[in-house]
């Protein structure tokens, strides 16, 4: 007997159900199909190619009128179903009722609209169906600016399509990297880079506050106050199962319509399929599992036993030129091991996640040819032990090539600057090599590259090797650590010339072999980035040693020491009282006078830090940075104020220097001293910068040491005025910040580059001015008291996250 089968929603899932039914049981059902959209089933996922202009709507229609007619499907398109009457077993459409024996709900999902002011303004569109797509195409014809809210799959496809059609597009994304549900940070970085290359602006960690406009959308206002002009706003922040009919009809609905493995709802005559369902706590947003559901449902309806199971899914992005692949589970749950492969030359990143002897997840960017092979291994739970070592090279691997340590240098464009001192680009050097300069000396002589400070020598040698192949034997240089093949100097140089402005960029473009570095390279790279790009790069506390992260020195028992700044070693009774009070209040076991003319409170508990800082702040005391690779102290003698030998006001100069330099980060710690006469009571001549006052002015000397090595400073320059002494010191510190290897004290760096090179730079008026300007720019960000900031904004992070030793109050 023919049963009446009513289907609500002509979508991708229900379409597949009908296809299967008409094939396997053409006479079993008399089908009525409702669809709110005034058309039948089309391939929704191909809307993106329609938007970008690569396909037309006609090309993506799955079932046309003829098909429905041929299979006797009664179509009620353009008609919303408004209710289900389960007692009478009828579906209520806008134009009348339809009785059913069995009913399928396939209503898909609705775009999530963030509840912000302006969300209903004309010009705000979601991205779900053909009408949305056409609205975007129309808007794009007028040109102008589009803001896409949401950096997931849908949002990015919309953004790429709109950019393709000539709009100026900005993507606003809440999370730290794009497509965070499908990609890790590294792949997210590459995706962002590729999208930016096609002119799309990406803002991550950006939250939308409102959409502004009088009678249509005109701008998007972000939480941080930035306003983005917008003629069109696309909201693509996620979807929500369309469950309203089911809820009204009294079916069991959680986040989606709950179904059994046979796709049956809580009413045995009603089934649900597609994005509107929830199965075993899972929701669905991609078609692969929906097709599985459709097959199961068709079987159930024809009396065959079948059951739906949730399987891993794979994602690709349909933006031409952004080749990414993600499958399985690659972020959650411990017990896993990573295999990472990066090829900067080809912009390739691959990461496999292994648990036990199985592959559980894969993310790749740039070269996704092996994606489906990996996906197969994941789905089938294949044992991979045997091929573990070569797994990342894919099925075609036949003992072939390994990652090439020179690929980062090989990948550099011709205009990448290799020698910073003399402004020599890769192209010039390669030309010289090809023209017969086949060793370092010849390259130096012909191009001047690496002829000054010499820190680019490693890169020049790599270029020789890349260009000459086996004809040149590369001297073995010490890479930063096991994560990469480059030296500190190479990395510094490339960060500058390649304009690498994030850790992800460094890891990818310079071929890091680990997911996110290690305790050796992370602090170095973090410093290089913040020193070279003070405005663009945000300091990453998680890449700092504990002392710099907590702004206090960790002691051997895990407690901390607190050293307030005393400018130039000068203090007063109020400060001393505040220090004494704090020492009492926090039971500080040891109070010590340091060698740098400061007072050290030793033995403070980590969780007390924000409080003791707040107390010291109240007395006007700020962090002394006794923990940092940065400016530590400026020691002074009493100079002309009190000493009969004094020639200049050494104390005042010390204070001024400390005020100019404090808060700055440097490759290693920096200590200064100013003595009022050559008797040198402040011991200036063993400091990183030591100034000796004389009748004619100031003798500035640099590169002293009084640690494991003891070394006297070398005279850099004599200057007549206090102002110039400060200028020279600042320029020197900036030169050190820009060029030295992380953890090289100035004397070590001086030993490498030579005093003459340094003098030349500091004496050059333009260069000196540039150095001072660059330092000031950086200080506009970093010259501030981290204690105050932490005490006010981050105090909570110093306390335990939870305390489970307390019994719960009942």
């Amino acid at each position: 007997m023919t049963q009446k089968l009513v289907i609500i929603g002509a979508g991708m899932a229900s379409g597949r159900v009908i296809e299967t039914l008409v094939e396997t049981a053409p006479d079993a059902f008399d089908i009525t199909l409702f669809n709110a959209e005034p058309r039948g089933n089309y391939n929704r996922i191909m809307l993106s190619p329609v938007l970008s202009g690569e396909k037309t709507y006609e090309e993506i229609v799955t079932h046309d009128d003829g098909w429905y007619a041929q299979h006797g499907v009664t179509c009620r398109f353009g008609e919303h179903v408004v209710g289900i009457d389960r007692t009478r077993k009828v579906v209520i459409g806008q134009n009348g009722e339809a009785p059913y024996d069995r009913l399928i709900i396939g209503t898909g999902s609705a775009p999530f609209i963030i509840p912000i002011p302006g969300k209903d303004l004309p010009g705000v569109i979601t991205y779900r169906d053909l009408d949305d797509t056409n609205a975007m195409i129309d808007a794009a014809q007028k040109g102008g600016k589009a803001v896409v809210i949401g950096g997931g799959l849908l949002g990015l496809e919309a953004a790429a399509g709109l950019a393709e059609r000539g709009m100026e597009v900005t993507v606003v994304h809440l999370m730290g990297h794009l497509m965070e549900r499908q990609l890790d940070e590294a792949a997210g970085y590459l995706l962002r880079r590729d999208l930016e290359k096609r002119g799309i602006t990406i803002k991550t960690q950006a939250s939308t506050k409102a959409i502004l406009g009088e009678d249509k959308a005109e701008a998007v206002l972000l939480e941080d106050g930035e306003t983005l002009g917008a003629d069109l706003v696309v909201m693509a922040v996620g979807i929500r199962p369309e469950t309203r009919l089911a809820t009204d009809a009294g079916l069991t609905v959680a986040r989606g319509i709950e179904v059994t493995a046979q796709m049956q709802t809580s009413d045995p005559d009603i089934y649900a399929v597609g994005e509107c369902v929830e199965f075993d706590g899972h929701l669905f947003g991609l078609v692969a599992p929906l097709y599985d559901q459709a097959k199961v449902l068709a079987h159930t309806l024809t009396g065959e036993t079948d059951a739906f199971v949730v399987r891993d899914i794979a994602t690709k992005l349909k933006v031409t030129g952004c080749d990414l692949f993600s499958a399985g589970d690659f972020t959650e749950a411990p017990g896993r091991e990573d295999i990472v492969f990066r090829d900067p030359a080809r912009g390739v990143y691959k990461r496999l996640v292994i648990e036990g002897d199985r592959l559980v997840g894969a993310v790749m960017y740039g070269d996704t040819a092996d994606g489906n092979w990996f996906f197969g291994l994941i789905k089938d739970g294949t044992e991979i032990d045997e091929m573990r070592d070569t797994l990342i090279f894919g099925p075609a691997y036949q003992g072939g090539d390994q990652a090439d340590p020179l690929s980062a240098v090989a990948a550099l464009p011709r205009d990448a600057e290799i020698c910073g001192c003399n402004g020599i680009c890769k192209g010039t050097i390669v030309d010289a090599i090809e023209g017969g300069a086949t060793d370092l000396g010849a390259v130096k002589a012909q191009t001047k590259a690496s002829a000054s400070c010499g820190t680019c020598t490693g890169l020049v040698e790599q270029l020789l090797q890349v260009t000459l192949g086996d004809g040149f034997e590369l001297p073995t240089a010490q890479p930063i650590c096991g994560c990469c093949d480059l030296t500190h100097e190479d990395v510094r140089r490339l960060i500058k010339s390649q304009e690498l402005k994030s850790q992800e960029a460094v890891w990818q473009e310079l071929g890091w072999k680990t997911r996110n570095g290690c305790h050796v390279c992370r602090p170095a790279v973090n410093f290089y980035l913040l020193a070279d790009w003070p405005l663009e790069y945000q300091d990453d506390p998680q890449s700092r040693f504990v002392n710099e992260r907590k702004h206090a020195n960790i002691q051997k028992d895990g407690t901390f020491s607190v050293v307030p700044r005393m400018w130039g070693g000068i203090t007063n009774p109020d400060e001393l009282r505040a220090i004494a009070d704090a020492a009492d209040k926090y039971n500080v076991p040891t109070v010590k006078v340091t060698g740098g003319q400061r007072i050290d409170l030793l033995g403070v508990k980590g969780e007390d830090l924000p409080f003791i800082w707040a107390d010291l702040n109240k007395a006007g005391l700020v962090s002394g940075h006794a923990y940092s690779k940065g400016l530590r102290t400026v020691k002074t003698c009493v100079g002309t104020d009190h000493c009969r030998f004094g020639t200049q006001d050494s104390t005042r100069l010390g204070i001024k220097l400390e005020q100019a330099l404090w808060g700055s980060w440097t490759p290693h710690k920096v200590k200064l001293a100013v003595s009022g006469c050559p008797r040198n009571c402040a011991e200036a001549t063993c400091k990183d910068v030591g100034i000796i006052c004389v009748d004619s002015g100031y003798q500035v000397s640099v590169g002293g040491a009084a640690g494991m090595d003891v070394k006297e400073t070398e005279r850099l320059i004599d200057v007549p005025t206090e102002a110039e002494a400060i200028e020279v010191t600042v320029a020197f510190v900036q030169l050190y910040r820009e060029n030295a290897k992380y953890l090289d004290r100035p004397y070590k760096w001086l030993g490498k580059v030579g005093l003459d090179w340094m003098k030349e730079r500091i004496m050059d008026a333009n260069e000196r001015a540039r150095l001072i300007e660059a330092f000031e720019l950086s200080q506009s960000i970093y010259r501030k008291d981290p204690w105050a900031e932490h005490a006010q904004e981050r105090a909570a992070s110093y306390a335990p996250l939870a305390d489970l030793t307390l019994e719960a109050a009942e």
Partner: protein, 109 residues
């Protein structure tokens, strides 16, 4: 197991760590990726360094005192004879759940 809600994932910075006080001592929760959390003893077996203050990289942490590196999956110190206890922890959405029993909590009534 008895899962105890410890806090929100964003209470721990990416590649950072926080301490939880428990009956078995201080337990460190490490956030190694956007949605990846490990729990292990906060105390380095070498000389007691506080591991929450170390640098978190990959699925490892480096002790801030003398740079022992611990694999957070197993607790084993790399190339050293030492290990730290690890504890079951999981994420439910954005909430961090720690196994109360494993850290010495008697289960709630």
């Amino acid at each position: 197991m008895s899962w105890i809600d410890i806090g929100h994932i964003d209470d721990i910075p990416l590649r950072g760590a926080r301490v939880v006080k428990t009956p078995v001592g201080c337990v460190a929760l490490f956030r190694t990726a956007e949605a990846e959390i490990f729990a292990a003893s906060n105390t380095c077996p070498h000389k007691g360094g506080p591991l929450t203050d170390g640098i978190v990289h990959g699925q490892s942490v480096t002790c801030p005192l003398h740079n022992w590196v611990f694999d957070l999956n197993t607790g084993q110190a790399q190339g050293e004879d030492g290990r730290i206890a690890t504890y079951p922890v999981r994420l439910e959405g954005a909430r961090i759940l720690l196994d109360g029993e494993a850290v010495g909590k008697r289960s709630a009534a």
